[in-house]
């Protein structure tokens, strides 16, 4: 029965053996592993690319003050990108589950239709959510377009929900009870809660009560204009980084209920516009 950190080590080792470069997380707040430039930018254009990385992901609207057993505003995704997609990717994925203790010949693993789309990224793909005995544990997507640009060739993206998997593997009901590390004679066993509860609580207060929305509104406008300026200077990596910032600021404003239903569309299309510009610029300078 693997600890949380061992699940990560095992997955990294497995995908490294499949030829993936193991990258490190992007050092910015983002909603999902997909937002990492290793996915958004590198999935565009013709060059082959095989990577895997952990990405801490933030969803301010899911703040629950560490009171909810499986909903958090900060959690970990494990992201795999294989470009171009390969024929036996489903088998490789199932084998990866085996390495962390979920035997696909003993558990009911299903590929249930779920097409993914991100309006802010102008991205969409077709694929499935993977169910393990009824519980969703992974998102499996063939990326068709990013930044409103067709992906050629098509990449396959596998996003593991690490906490979900760990809950299943360790047979726990609350994430805070997950065992994070390996206990030994001189190592104390640490739970997920030991490491993250206080962080969760403090950020829940910030996200839902204290975030300065006037500042955030200004930050959004600044991120938007800097992104445009960087695109004009032909620095798409930098331009895209401001898109990531804009997206997280939007999520924070949303968590503080500062965005009405009519304004939401507007913000989303603004982020989509700067993302599209950065992606187009990326394609251009990579020709």
């Amino acid at each position: 029965m693997l600890s949380f950190q061992n699940i990560i080590f095992t997955l990294q080792k497995y995908w490294a053996e499949q030829g993936c470069c193991i990258l490190q997380p992007y050092d910015l707040e983002m909603g999902a592993g997909t937002f990492h430039s290793a996915t958004v930018l590198k999935c565009l254009g013709p060059k082959a690319w095989k990577v895997a990385y952990v990405q801490p992901s933030r969803r301010p609207t899911d703040s629950r003050y560490a009171q909810h057993p499986n909903r958090l505003q900060y959690y970990y995704q494990f992201q795999v990108i294989i470009k171009p997609s390969i024929d036996n990717i489903q088998d490789l994925y199932l084998e990866s589950l085996n390495t962390i203790g979920i035997n696909p010949h003993k558990q009911d693993i299903r590929f249930v239709e779920d097409d993914w789309a991100s309006p802010t990224l102008g991205a969409s793909g077709l694929g499935w959510e993977i169910w393990c005995n009824g519980m969703e544990v992974t998102q499996f997507t063939y990326m068709q377009q990013i930044g409103s640009i067709q992906c050629e060739p098509v990449s396959v993206e596998i996003t593991y929900g690490l906490e979900r998997l760990a809950l299943y593997i360790q047979n726990k009901n609350s994430v805070y009870d997950l065992i994070w590390n390996e206990k030994s004679a001189d190592t104390k066993e640490m739970t997920y809660g030991d490491i993250t509860s206080l962080f969760e609580k403090q950020f829940s207060h910030y996200n839902l009560e204290h975030a300065n929305t006037d500042l955030l509104l200004k930050d959004f406008i600044n991120a938007e204009s800097e992104s445009q300026r960087m695109t004009e200077l032909n620095l798409p990596y930098v331009a895209y980084e401001f898109c990531i910032k804009a997206s997280h600021i939007f999520n924070l404003l949303d968590a503080r209920n500062k965005i009405s239903t009519t304004e939401r569309e507007n913000y989303i299309s603004r982020i989509r516009a700067i993302t599209k510009a950065a992606c187009s610029n990326w394609i251009q300078i990579n020709k």
């Binding site: 057993p69 171009p84 024929d87 558990q107 249930v112 009824g134 068709q144 009405s260």
Partner: protein
């Protein structure tokens, strides 16, 4: 006996798309075989989530006794290079050409294709022609398909037909159920394929999978003396998620059974694709049914896993439900003025105030109705409705009961969103008023705020709301002037820069929806419907009644006579539309005078007469018109008389067509 087997193996096909695809391929395959003159005994198309299988038994090509075909070429007046190309294509000289009906023909002695050749040349096209609701590309292939294709198999008896499809060449490889083995299996003949599927735990026939599921569900139900609740759409979906179904039984912790039934069922079916088992009194039992794809000796772990997932979901729901009850309806009601309904229309509380006013218009001083209107949106920002939006109204019902609100009012809250679909119940009595008030406020207030339904976008579902209003009004025969109600809505809606012209726009919007509705209901032409509406008051029930009468009249025998009389008038009138004045001095015969009177009388009858009455007028005139045609000759020598009589006929014709658009009816 010849058999054909084709298997397209791919990654999991979305369950919701399988049935349509199966029906499409079955019909296309059959018509293809017919077109190529290939007889067969049985033709089947099977679908599992991972494969599409074509299986045809006892194929036989109908031999054309005469192997030669007559092939049509260019027209005889074509350019010489076209004729040369035609001759070259079929390897003939100009001497071999035949001429028939201004076209060149040649006799081509082509060898007839064998079944294998037919399959080889045509199958790829048949497979690829289907447009899936959504397709994708993968890797750097150009092929588009619903999901990545892994392999294509094609056997004619024991021979591979290696047709090319996308970047694939058909072969004799297949794979069994994923959980059994992931080794490729070579297939020598079709019997072996059937055996392999059988021993490999793949039930290719979706009907057999479905029957197996239903049978096993029934067995569990019988054993436990419970009643399974099987939603057929969910069942179809579940059939499409398995290659080998096994039905399993799970348990629900009884602490969750105090949750409202709809909450448990929504959690179970919508999110988890489980089937509830009900007690004989229709309440939820503590057992549920689910279908697994894996083949095992011991299913304990699978059952436990599924039970845990459901438990987590229900625990979530429980938490939200308790939170909502704690907050209480009063608190939620107070907060309704902080929830924006629309940026230009104020809060949800403002909306409730409008709904109350409209309810009062529809049924004055109905205290129960007004109370329900006040409470009907109380569940909007509840945690439960945020999590399960489809339970809006349902949660309102339960929360009202929790607050000791009268059960009649609670039921009004529950049902006031009806009708939710074309097949949903249409509410009656008080519920009808509340449902109508809510929907009509949706249309009016949103249009006043500047929202519209275009032909491609209707994000506020204005069309559906308007149609719902019409259906409720008619089912309950609620009489009122809709223009007045719209004007009332305009008055009570607080909105910046509202323009009184919008009333007409909203009325026209309802009118358009109503026209479509009447057209669908009675099959009446739109011109006629337009006439009916413009000649009626703005009472939907009255308009519908008129339309019904007109519809019946138009299909009656009397109307047949009227239309044939009209046709006669048209024929004789000719094309000259002469609206000249009839000279009364030239009218001598009683038949002519009678017709003149009829024309004059109709000019007197004005818009106050209903369409039905005007049509009766025409009916009464027929005999006189018949007499006229019988006894009076129009084309007499004296041109002034002839002309005058022609004018009579033309005026009559115009009178007819002013009353109702006959041309529209005749052209049907």
């Amino acid at each position: 006996m010849n058999r054909l087997l084709i298997e397209i193996l791919c990654e999991e096909i979305p369950a919701r798309m399988q049935k349509t695809a199966q029906e499409y391929y079955l019909s296309k395959l059959k018509s293809f075989l017919d077109q190529k003159k290939i007889n067969y005994d049985e033709c089947n198309v099977f679908l599992t989530p991972r494969r599409i299988v074509f299986l045809v038994a006892n194929l036989n090509k109908i031999r054309n006794g005469n192997n030669s075909q007559k092939i049509k070429g260019p027209k005889i007046d074509c350019k010489s290079e076209h004729l040369k190309a035609f001759c070259k294509n079929y390897n003939i000289t100009p001497d071999d050409l035949l001429i028939e009906n201004n076209y060149y023909y040649c006799i081509s002695n082509q060898r007839e294709q064998t079944i294998e050749e037919v399959i080889f040349h045509s199958m790829a096209h048949i497979i690829l022609k289907y447009s899936w609701p959504k397709t994708m590309r993968w890797a750097d292939n150009t092929m588009h398909w619903v999901r990545p294709v892994k392999n294509i198999l094609c056997l004619f008896n024991d021979k591979i037909i290696p047709f090319e499809c996308g970047h694939f060449t058909a072969n004799n490889i297949t794979f069994a159920h994923r959980n059994i083995t992931d080794q490729a299996i070579l297939i020598q003949n079709i019997d072996q394929y059937i055996d392999t599927m059988h021993s490999g735990f793949v039930i290719i026939d979706q009907e057999i999978r479905r029957k197996k599921i239903l049978k096993e569900i029934e067995e569990y139900a019988q054993k436990l003396q419970l009643i399974p609740s099987i939603n057929s759409i969910l069942l179809d979906e579940v059939v499409g998620l398995v290659e080998y179904p096994t039905v399993l039984l799970g348990k629900i912790d009884s602490k969750f059974l105090s949750l409202p039934k709809e909450v448990i069922i929504t959690s179970m079916s919508v999110n988890q694709k489980y089937f509830p088992l009900l007690n004989s009194d229709n309440t939820i039992s503590n057992y549920f049914i689910f279908v697994t794809n894996i083949v095992l000796k011991d299913y304990n772990e699978v059952i436990q896993g599924n039970e845990r997932v459901l438990s987590a979901r229900l625990a979530d729901a429980m938490h939200l439900y308790k939170h909502d009850i704690n907050v209480g309806s009063k608190e939620r009601a107070l907060n309704l003025d902080k929830i924006i309904f629309h940026s230009k229309l104020g809060s949800v509380k403002d909306k409730c105030t409008r709904i109350e006013a409209i309810c009062n218009y529809l049924d004055k001083n109905n205290k129960t109705l007004l109370h329900a209107a006040f409470l009907c949106k109380n569940d909007i920002k509840s945690e439960m409705v945020k999590e399960f939006p489809s339970l809006q109204g349902v949660m309102g019902y339960y929360y009202a009961l929790e607050d000791d609100i009268d059960s009649e009012i609670a039921s009004l809250i529950l049902n006031h969103y009806q009708p939710n679909s074309a097949t949903d119940n249409i509410p009656k009595n008080n519920t009808a008023f509340l449902a109508l008030a809510d929907k009509i406020d949706n249309v009016c207030s949103l249009m006043i705020a500047g929202e519209f339904a275009s032909s491609s976008k209707d994000p506020y579902a204005l069309r559906r709301n308007a149609l719902g209003c019409i259906r409720i009004i008619l089912a309950n025969q609620i009489h009122f002037n809709i223009k007045e109600l719209i004007a009332c809505c305009f008055t009570i809606t607080k909105c910046e820069k509202k323009n009184v012209n919008i009333i007409e726009v909203i009325y026209n919007f309802f009118s358009e929806r109503f026209k479509h509705f009447l057209h669908k209901k009675y099959g009446l032409d739109y011109h006629i419907i337009h006439q009916i509406i413009s000649s009626s008051d703005a009472d939907i029930c009255n308009i519908d009644t008129n339309a019904s009468k007109i519809h019946n009249f138009i299909h009656s025998n009397q109307f047949e006579k009227i239309t044939s009389t009209y046709k006669r008038l048209v024929n004789i009138s000719g094309t000259s539309s002469n609206e000249g004045k009839i000279d009364t001095k030239l009218l001598h015969n009683k038949e002519e005078i009678k017709l003149y009177d009829i024309i004059n009388n109709s000019k007197l009858c004005n818009k106050d007469m209903t369409l039905i009455d005007k049509l009766s007028l025409l009916e009464n005139a027929i005999n006189d018109i018949d007499d006229f045609f019988k006894n009076i000759m129009i084309n007499v020598e004296d041109k002034s008389y002839a002309n005058n009589r022609l004018l009579l006929v033309q005026n009559l014709k115009n009178m007819f067509s002013k009353i109702i658009n006959f041309d529209a009816i005749i052209s049907k």
